[in-house]
């Protein structure tokens, strides 16, 4: 039996069942299919992992499903590839994915689009698994675009609201920009290597004879793709808007899985980046800048999901920082820990929103810890984890990222470390700000809302507990070492070799500093924060306006495009020049027709004269040229 194919196809079956039959067969059926098949996929993945472990540390499972298209002796296979990196990603996807499916049965209980929702979610899993299991970049691209589609559908799930539909569209199109880069990289690789199988690409770049293509160019192009999917500057604009979808979707797609596809891609193709220092540098710089700027924006957000969204962008930036400095395993490690705590946070936020009947503004929350203690507890654990408080999961991965940012011989530098640490500090600060304002400060809820507050059902809280537990203990699994046979750990600069432990303390200190600052500012509520905002109004406005990137794109890209299309292409080109000249010719012919009709005066003598003109003309012509 083709195990990997089965893993991929299980969610697809779920999608088809739910999509085609779901509405007729009722919610129970939908829930069983929708949750059962991902869980089956998870179990199948476990089996695959066992097989893999038995085969050795750098072994891989390979399954060719069929040949998609062939050209002469070359061709594209639909093949699945399973090694330790894939295993980690697949486990996260199916595992966290299954949990979120279960959570959704509670969260979406009353939604009329219940079947549609689960169909989409299964579809997403299908594409995500295709993405990570695909052996070739082409199959990966299928998943790559597919998750974009699923994301589009899910963001716009409540499509009656034009803003939400628009957010879906924005996500898709922004992703498409990145995909264009992905495609360019793919084309380049195919031309140079004649293959797009990722293992073969890595091998080709490791070979003594370098491929006839610049690794940096390929690296940058593929990274453009990654920026789109993983919401890095300058293509990060879609992710915060993507929070328009149902909250579990945000947890699954926009925090735990899809957005890490970019990280996965770079890690998977580390063979290219290892030989492309310039590209790696670009990755690191973009990553750290994203981490920092997203963190600053998160400072002033008031929508609970927006805060988490920017935090996601920021964390993804840190992952790319790790990739940029060659610490691929560490980046995946952060993907892994981040999946737990960010999913927990989002689902917790979902629980809060659920409890408050849809309220998302943290300024109108407060004091919830007493009312929904389970949610609060799990949320707090996850917050601590993301802030990097030891010994929770986030601490381990983040610490290692910062360490390599400073010390890696593959492009580490002090500047990267400083910005990364600053981002980390800000993360700690805004996360605890969130925690304070949401749960701990005195209640600022309206009376109606307060009356309504209730703890979520077990299907939701149970998931939260599992995820919180994983956030707490996940860090003890030394993932980078597990992956080392595949993803090398970069050498550390000699001068810093002995300071690793020192920097652990620095990192802890940074996290605690953030905690302390947040506590100082928000322990009593909003007042101090607002005062601070009032002192720096311009800065606050810039941060609140997200650096006006959206507006910039609107003004620089979209409007000119529209203007050029409308006025220049349509007005000037099509209507005036092309059609205009054609209409002109037609009018000319009509006028000529009128003129010729007027020659036909009805005067007999004129007709004779015309004939004589003809005869004389012919005679003269023949005589002249004879």
């Amino acid at each position: 039996m083709k195990l990997l194919t089965v893993i991929v196809l299980l969610p697809l079956a779920g999608f088809l069942l739910n999509g085609l039959l779901g509405r007729r067969l009722g919610r129970t059926f939908v829930s069983i299919v929708g949750c059962g098949l991902p869980i089956l996929a998870f179990l199948a993945t476990l089996k695959a992992v066992l097989l893999l472990q038995a085969a050795g540390p750098d072994a891989a499972l390979l399954e060719v499903a069929y040949r998609w298209a062939s050209f002469g002796d070359q061709g594209f296979d639909v093949a699945f590839y399973f090694d330790r990196l894939t295993a980690v990603m697949t486990l996260i996807i199916t595992g966290v994915g299954s949990l979120i499916h279960v959570y959704s049965t509670g969260y979406m209980k009353d939604d009329p689009g219940y079947a549609r929702y689960f169909a989409y979610l299964n579809l997403f899993l299908f594409f995500m698994l295709t993405l990570v299991l695909g052996r070739s970049l082409l199959v990966c691209f299928v998943g790559w675009e597919g998750v974009g589609l699923a994301s589009y559908l899910l963001i716009g799930f409540w499509f009656e609201d034009p803003a939400k539909a628009a957010a879906g569209k924005k996500a898709f199109i922004t992703n498409r920009v990145g995909d264009a880069g992905f495609l360019l990289g793919l084309f380049l690789l195919y031309w140079a290597l004649g293959t797009v199988n990722m293992d073969e690409i890595n091998a080709a770049f490791a070979a003594p004879v370098a491929p006839a293509v610049s690794a940096s160019l390929v690296g940058v192009l593929l990274f453009i793709g990654a920026t789109g999917k993983s919401a890095q500057i300058p293509l990060h604009v879609w992710l915060p808007d993507a929070m328009a979808g149902p909250t579990p979707v945000s947890a699954l797609i926009h925090a735990a899985t899809m957005v890490t596809a970019g990280v996965y891609l770079v890690a998977r193709l580390h063979g290219i980046y290892e030989h492309a220092p310039e590209a790696s540098q670009v990755v690191a710089v973009i990553g750290v800048l994203t981490a920092f700027f997203a963190a600053t924006i998160a400072l002033v957000q008031t929508d609970i999901k927006k805060v988490l969204a920017y935090s996601t962008v920021s964390q993804l930036g840190l992952m790319f920082l790790a990739l940029g400095v060659g610490a691929y395993g560490v980046a995946v490690f952060h993907v892994y820990t981040h999946a737990f705590f960010k999913a927990c946070l989002f689902l917790g936020a979902g629980s809060v929103i659920h409890a408050l009947g849809g309220e998302q503004d943290i300024r109108k929350m407060g004091g919830l810890w007493r009312r929904i203690p389970l949610t609060f507890g799990t949320f707090a654990v996850a917050t601590a984890a993301i802030a990097g408080i030891p010994p929770l999961a986030g601490f381990f991965s983040k610490d290692e990222i910062l360490w390599f940012a400073l010390a890696s011989q593959h492009g580490g530098s002090a500047a990267l470390w400083v910005l990364g640490s600053a981002a980390s500090l800000l993360t700690s600060f805004y996360m605890f700000r969130l925690l304070w304002l949401t749960f701990l400060t005195p209640s600022r809820m309206s009376h109606d809302t307060e009356h309504h507050v209730h703890e979520s059902p077990f299907s939701m809280t149970g998931v939260l507990i599992v995820l919180a537990a994983l956030s707490a203990i996940g860090g003890f699994f030394e993932l980078p070492h597990f992956l080392e046979p595949l993803l090398p750990i970069p050498a550390v600069a000699g001068s810093l070799e002995h300071y690793e432990h020192t920097f652990v303390f620095v990192a802890v200190a940074v996290a605690l500093l953030g905690l302390a600052a947040a506590t100082f500012m928000y322990r009593r509520g909003l007042a101090r924060g607002e005062a601070l905002a009032a002192r720096f109004p311009r800065l606050h406005r810039i941060l609140g306006g997200k650096y006006y990137i959206d507006e910039l794109y609107e003004a620089v890209l979209y409007r000119p495009l529209h203007w050029v299309s409308d006025r220049v292409f349509l007005g000037l080109g099509d209507r005036l020049l092309i059609d205009g000249s054609l209409h002109g010719l037609a009018a000319l012919t009509r006028r000529a027709s009128g003129r010729l009709s007027r020659v036909q005066t009805g005067q007999l003598q004129w007709y004779v004269a015309m004939a004589v003109i003809g005869v004389v003309g012919c005679l003269v012509w023949v005589w002249r040229h004879g």
């Binding site: 007027r598 009805g602 005067q603 007999l604 003598q605 004779v608």
Partner: protein, 100 residues
């Protein structure tokens, strides 16, 4: 005797005069007479060439032209008569209802 070229020249001039007459004279009957003049010019040319080439066929064609000229007039005159009756005018310039 006579100069071929001169006779030929006369023929061309008469032909042109006939054609000019068709173009410039407004009276339909005059117009028809001018056409006869053109035919006469052709006859002159044919006779001249018949003599020059010492063959008979030119002169034979002249006889055919006589017949055709008579037939043409036989058809033309009734047409003109009918037109003059319809329009109560022989002015060819007035015959311009069909145009465009």
């Amino acid at each position: 005797m006579a100069d071929t070229q001169l006779l030929l020249g006369l023929s061309f001039v008469l032909f042109a005069l006939g054609l000019v007459g068709v173009m410039v004279r407004r009276n339909a009957l005059v117009m028809l007479m001018c056409m006869e003049l053109m035919l006469n010019a052709v006859i002159l040319a044919l006779v001249t060439f018949s003599l020059e080439t010492a063959t008979l066929s030119g002169a034979v064609l002249v006889f055919l032209i006589f017949v055709v000229a008579a037939a043409e007039i036989a058809i033309a005159i009734p047409i003109v008569l009918q037109l003059s009756r319809q329009r109560s005018s022989l002015d060819v310039e007035g015959y311009d209802r069909l145009q465009g």
